[in-house]
Amino acid sequence: MGAIEVTGLRKAFPNGVEAVAGIDLSVEQGEIFGFLGPNGAGKSTTTRMLTTLLRPTAGSARVAGLDVLREGAAVRRVIGVALQDAGLDYLATGRELLEIQGRLHGLRGKLVRERADAMLALVGLTDAADRRVGTYSGGMRRRLDLASALIHDPQILFLDEPTAGLDPASRQAIWDEVIRMNREQGITVFLTTQYLEEADRLAKRVAIIDHGRIVAEGAPEELKASIGSDVVTVGVPSDQIERAENALATLDGLKEIQADAKGLTLFVHDGSGAVVRVVRLLDKANITVGSITVSSPTLDEVFLRLTGSRLEGASDEEAAS
């Protein structure tokens, strides 16, 4: 039995918005599963249903073999959750926060204090343990949130955008910790992210969600290979994009062309060979080429190919790296 089994899961809100439109998912025990999609795609709503924070409108979901609707308390015993906004009590100290979280998870007496100390050491917050959370930096709060999700030694960890807004060093620290927990403790991780590099680095398999529907699922390498082509990115002035698109329509080996505000993305059989032909065609049409690059497909290009738009986090990610 998988760690997470989802069938026909759907969530419609009273205002008529259908955030999740009937999805199927299966996450194996001990794997890191990336759940990828742009803002508003339905990632957080799915996570909230799987963690018993929201009632599904239809469908079923089992976490660690337990039904999220009928066995909510039992599900919450075996999962750890770090949501998009680090949920912390700013008036408590880091240690107090971990201790109350541990107690609410059923830890008692000496054990809760030992676990709190161990978690503080794990996320490098021992020195700040007795300071109020309100005085912590953003990175420290994220790490404390992760520690609070781990205090009861969960089987399955849900991480919703765990590194959003963090500097590269803090992001790397969280990634290292997730990989270590997965390797050493065999913990299953359901990782929601809009950062492609994060999914690529951590996840063994990913599912891509868009407008509440799963549009692709598989290992990152499989998804990239499924495109079966190289990616040529051409930068052209925004007022010439339409003409450039027309000029390149006759390009040999062209499988697909996508336009955005910065230029064009071409999916072609032989990227290196296509570059010269691209430049010639654009030159013939009197279009200025600002830049041209050839690359293997990324998950962003997989998403672009499948949905016609890029993941919103891609540009943020580049800026942060």
């Binding site: 959750v81 949501l83 008036l91 949130d145």
Partner: protein
């Protein structure tokens, strides 16, 4: 035999679950008390206004009240000051902060019974308002108030006030859970005004001449809570008044706590 064993197991599970809920409520109440103590400026003003009211009111109107037949005016006014002290206008704001900062979700993903989140918040409020009520009462006693039922009556009077305070806090908690909005929660506290003023705050029931006000006073549950508290401080052990006060506070608490619990369910939809 099997049925008996299964029944015992079921009872053991229910008992365990009840005990766990009680523990969780206690820890969450402790957390709230700790947070209150860490921001003293949030609760100290709640004690200053009732004390100000008590001393100004008794200082300026005691003689006039005596001529109207109220011999122990301090005993008449203290329950009003006490109700002001325990009507925590900040109730529910802590919950709003927890919701806004995502900490409420963090509590919801623990296996603790969800009712504990409401009970814990109410428990924290109970501790706070009981402390505030005791401070106001003790200061009034130190300032020479003649307490009709003696020291034995002080605790039940403060507890009666605290029960009202908790019932009132449950309203704020309910609005916080339903709306997640600090402004809406603050707005709900204005309900205290009609409840506190359309009653026997300034004069006994028999002295109220205006018909509509007399009717409002009769239908206002706070009237009975106030009269029960005055039984301790002013009239003596009038058990019928005390019983009516208990019924009124229980009825109010039933309504407001039910509202808070239904708001919690509403939030989880």
């Amino acid at each position: 035999m099997t049925t008996i064993t299964a029944g015992r197991e079921q009872r053991a599970i229910e008992w365990h679950s009840l005990r766990e809920s009680a523990r969780a409520s206690l820890w969450l109440a402790q957390r709230q008390v700790r947070n209150t103590l860490r921001v003293p400026f949030e609760f100290i003003p709640s004690m200053i206004f009732p004390l100000f009211f008590y001393f100004v009111q008794t200082g300026s109107l005691a003689k006039l009240a005596t001529t109207s037949g109220i011999t122990n005016y301090k005993g008449f006014v203290l329950p009003v000051a006490l109700l002001f002290a325990v009507s925590n206008e900040g109730a529910g704001q802590g919950m709003v902060q927890d919701i806004e900062r995502g900490y409420f979700d963090k509590l919801l993903v623990t296996p603790a019974a969800r009712i504990s989140l409401v009970l814990g918040a109410m428990g924290g409020n109970f501790a706070r308002v009981t402390f505030q009520g005791l401070v106001v009462t003790v200061l009034a006693l130190l300032a020479g108030m003649d307490f009709q039922t003696g020291v034995l009556g002080v605790i039940p009077m403060v507890l009666m006030a605290s029960l009202w305070g908790v019932a009132f806090a449950a309203l704020g908690i309910g609005v916080a859970l339903r709306t997640g909005s600090g402004q809406a929660t603050q707005g709900a506290q204005f309900l205290a005004f009609p409840l506190m003023f359309l009653t026997t705050t300034f004069a006994p029931r028999e002295a109220i001449g205006v018909h509509w006000l007399h009717t409002a006073v009769a239908y206002n549950p706070v009237t009975y809570i106030l009269e029960a508290m005055r039984a301790f401080s002013f009239r003596g052990w009038v058990f019928a008044d005390i019983a009516k006060g208990l019924v009124a506070v229980a009825a109010l608490a039933t309504v407001t706590v039910s509202f808070a619990l239904s708001s919690l369910r509403h939030r989880m939809r």
